[in-house]
Amino acid sequence: MTIPFETLAQRHTVYAFCVVWLLQFGYGTWVAVHWFRERRS
């Protein structure tokens, strides 16, 4: 199962994917960190 990375040749597609990952996993990490902190306190 290999990903043909030439399908990412269009830079706007790469930007869109990166924005989604950064915001989704960034927010997810923020919530998780606060959840663990709150549980400990």
Binding site: M1, I3, P4, F5, T7, L8, A9, Q10, H12, T13, Y15, A16, F17, V19, V20, L23, Q24, Y27, G28, V31, A32, H34, W35, E38, R39, S41
Partner: protein, 226 residues
């Protein structure tokens, strides 16, 4: 995470579109975020109604509804931000412009602004009034959802006509369906997971605040939260 990873793989390996080439692959991330950004505001609206209903009848349940409203509003902002961002990137490459004031884009921007206002209201309003004011705002904000959803059916827009359910000429090639469905499922599951985690965080904060009030007053106004 596995579903999201497989969704990414499917998005990369789906056949290339005839007119837009590889640029159309933005669709596999734009569509799930834009469509799911209509679900979370309804959850926010429902929780706000429940908050108003339980406010004087059952304060403990009202607090739970308020926590759910906060969580769903934040997830709404997240999903609408990504719907806007991916749409703008796609528009820049496909149309040559970042933005146009057509009915779909304008009502969607309004949806984003309404939920950003909701977050700001919660952050900066006077303590004691926050939950009530934000519940009322949430109910008004939900009016924009059907208008935004129907905008591409009611008016001529730069935004394309509906891909799904848009008549005989609408739709996608059968080979593209797995990529759409895996990404819709993946981002929906992720959204529900984040919503649950954020709700749990808000409930813990409420419990801590109730305990602090209890310490201060020497009473426990909300024993259910302990």
């Amino acid at each position: 995470m596995l579903v999201l990873a497989f969704g990414f793989y499917k998005a990369m390996t789906a056949p290339t579109e005839a007119t837009m080439g590889n640029l159309y692959r933005v669709f596999f991330y734009h569509f799930p975020h834009a469509s799911e950004s209509y679900i979370f505001p309804y959850l926010n609206c429902g929780a706000s109604f429940l908050y108003l209903y339980w406010r004087s009848r059952n304060p403990a349940r009202a607090l739970a509804a308020d926590a759910f409203a906060v969580a769903s509003a934040e997830v709404t902002v997240l999903y609408t931000t990504l719907g806007l961002a991916t749409g703008m990137l796609w528009g820049r490459a496909a149309w040559g412009i970042w933005w146009t004031w057509d009915a779909r884009l304008t009502t969607y921007l309004l949806l984003w602004l309404l939920y950003v206002s909701y977050i700001l209201l919660r952050r900066f309003s006077a303590p004691g009034q926050t939950a009530l004011l934000s519940a009322v705002l949430a109910i008004f904000a939900a009016i924009d959802i059907p208008i935004c959803y129907m905008s591409i059916r009611w008016w001529r827009t730069q935004h394309p006509a509906p891909v799904f359910g848009g008549g005989p000429d609408a739709g996608i090639d059968n080979a593209m369906w797995p990529a759409v469905l895996w990404n819709v499922a993946g981002w929906l599951m992720w959204g529900i997971f984040i919503l649950g985690l954020r709700y749990s965080l808000e409930r813990r904060r409420q419990a801590r605040a109730a305990a602090a009030t209890d310490d201060f007053l020497g009473t426990n106004p909300l024993p259910e939260l302990q």
